[in-house]
């Protein structure tokens, strides 16, 4: 299963590296939304700094949605999904591979976004370890649910509208916990023992487990 996962992740990341959709479309999208939030909230007061953890995660989640949609639109072309199954790859391996590739794409976006909120919004990073670890588990949660629902929505004709309707409410607790963990990380109230981080770990692992178990059924679709 791990070998299958690495193959899928390698394939997806290679496609991404060659097509440069992330670099040419996703990162500019993130920059535009960051600036739009600045316009909407106003830069002359502290509000922007105060809401920056929430803004960070809302933009991160929206970008993750685009990355998920992109990941499954690749498989929709020329019935590539059937090809994966015909190769005899394990469904769990395909799921894990997709999660890994989406995870890495989201991490690239989050690093870029993080630089944006630090330099444009003036957010200060105090507990860096908490910020990094909580970002990792929040991204794992979103990538797991996103992969599961992405595969599910990809088989329908209404995938563009259905995917956000399924993914965003499901991952809203992750958004809440990640925002709270980042608020704590910025104010340096607690370090790596933050309870919100515990919640993110639980979510990340539960979603990953559900995805591994049920992805075979989703691929039947």
């Amino acid at each position: 299963m791990i070998r299958d996962a690495l193959e899928i992740a390698k394939k997806d990341l290679l496609i991404e590296a060659r097509s440069r959709v992330l670099l040419n479309q996703l990162l500019p999208f993130v920059a535009v939304v960051l600036i739009l939030f600045g316009f909407a909230v106003g830069t002359q007061n502290r509000t922007l700094v105060d809401i920056s953890p929430g803004v960070f995660w809302v933009i991160a989640f929206l970008s993750a949605l685009l990355a998920i949609q992109r990941s499954f639109s690749i498989e929709a072309e020329n019935q590539a999904k059937d090809g994966l199954l015909a190769y005899g790859l394990e469904p769990g391996g395909i799921f894990l591979g997709k999660v890994v590739s989406i995870f890495f794409e989201c991490i690239v976006v989050e690093v870029f976004l993080g630089l944006g909120v630090v330099f444009i919004y003036g957010m200060r990073l105090n507990s860096v370890a908490l910020l990094i670890v909580s970002a990792g588990f929040a991204t794992l949660g979103v990538a797991s649910v996103g992969t599961l629902f992405g595969a599910l929505a990809a088989a329908t004709k209404v995938r563009e509208t259905l995917l956000p309707l399924l993914v965003l409410p499901s991952t809203a607790p992750v958004l809440l916990a990640a925002t709270k963990a980042w608020e704590d990380g910025i104010t340096s109230r607690v370090g790596i023992g933050d309870p919100w981080l515990g919640l993110l770990v639980v979510f990340g692992l539960i979603y990953l487990a559900i995805g591994l178990v049920s992805f075979g059924s989703v691929l039947e679709d």
């Binding site: 649910v145 599961l148 629902f149 599910l152 088989a155 329908t156 004709k157 209404v158 259905l162 309707l165 399924l166 409410p169 499901s170 809203a172 607790p173 309870p195 919640l199 979510f203 539960i206 979603y207 559900i210 049920s214 059924s217 989703v218 039947e220 679709d221």
Partner: protein, 262 residues
């Protein structure tokens, strides 16, 4: 068939009777609360409908698991999951509405970004997404697989909603009935009224789910009949075409045959 109809009827009458008793106890027998006054009467409904929403989603997730598990895979589990989710959405909406009506005089707002309110609204949206997914046209078995996966993921939010008032210290009070020590903080007539309310709304849920399940079964049967009728019609068309070709072939071949005879 007749006996099941009878028992569903009994369930409906019991549910109606239970709700009527809850109404009578809640409005006329129990006294006003020392702190909340008359507002407390709304609390004989609000926790009960919230409990039914949890129960409904629990049944949906069990139905989803049983459908996904290949040994027990049957469309009846999918119908049960769908029926229960629909009733759950209705009861979640009722929970939000009754909570909002209670919140206006208590907190002076119809809506506040309280943890439990927000997570309950999310639960509502999650299962609306589940129902939207069910409406996406696809073969029946594919709808069932998709919905089962979505139902399973959505159920993760239910414990979060219940624990939200513990994790986030916000406006909504902590659990008074289903608390960690399982000792309800309500006593006397108020406790009895709440108990009757919980039982009555559970009966209402059961009745609604059974009826919705029956409708789902009828829809599936109707769809199957429609497919069979469409196949039969196509077969008739094909038969008609074959017959007409055969007869025209006979007519075309007529002179030849005639010629050969002559």
């Amino acid at each position: 068939m007749k006996s099941s109809k009878f028992w569903v009827g009994v369930l409906a009458v019991s549910a109606l009777f239970g709700v009527a008793v809850t109404y009578w106890l809640g409005l006329f027998v129990t006294p006003p609360d020392v702190i909340q006054g008359q507002l407390v009467r709304l609390l004989y409904i609000h926790p009960s409908v919230a409990w039914v929403a949890y129960l409904a989603y629990g049944v949906t997730s069990v139905g989803s698991i049983l459908y996904l598990w290949k040994r027990t895979r049957s469309l009846k589990w999918d119908r049960l999951a769908a029926a229960s989710a629909e009733v759950g959405v209705v009861f979640t909406a009722l929970t939000l509405i009754t909570g909002s009506i209670w919140g206006r005089p208590t907190w002076h707002v119809w809506w506040t970004w309280d943890a439990r309110l927000t997570t309950t609204a999310l639960l509502f949206l999650l299962y609306l997404g589940y129902l939207a997914l069910r409406k996406v046209p696809a073969p029946r078995d594919k709808i069932a697989v998709r919905s089962a996966v979505a139902g399973l993921v959505a159920f993760i939010d239910v414990p979060i909603v219940h624990q939200s008032v513990v994790w986030w210290k916000t406006l909504h009070q902590s659990a008074t009935v289903f608390n960690a020590s399982l000792s309800p903080k309500v006593h006397g007539e108020m406790a009895w009224t709440m108990l009757v309310s919980f039982i009555s709304f559970t009966l209402v849920y059961l009745w609604m789910t059974i009826k919705r399940y029956q409708i789902e079964t009828n829809i599936d049967e109707f769809d199957n009949l429609e497919v069979e009728a469409a196949i039969a019609e196509r077969l008739r068309e094909v038969d008609g075409l074959v017959n007409s070709k055969a007869s025209s072939g006979t007519r075309e071949g007529g002179p030849k045959d005639g010629g050969s005879i002559s």
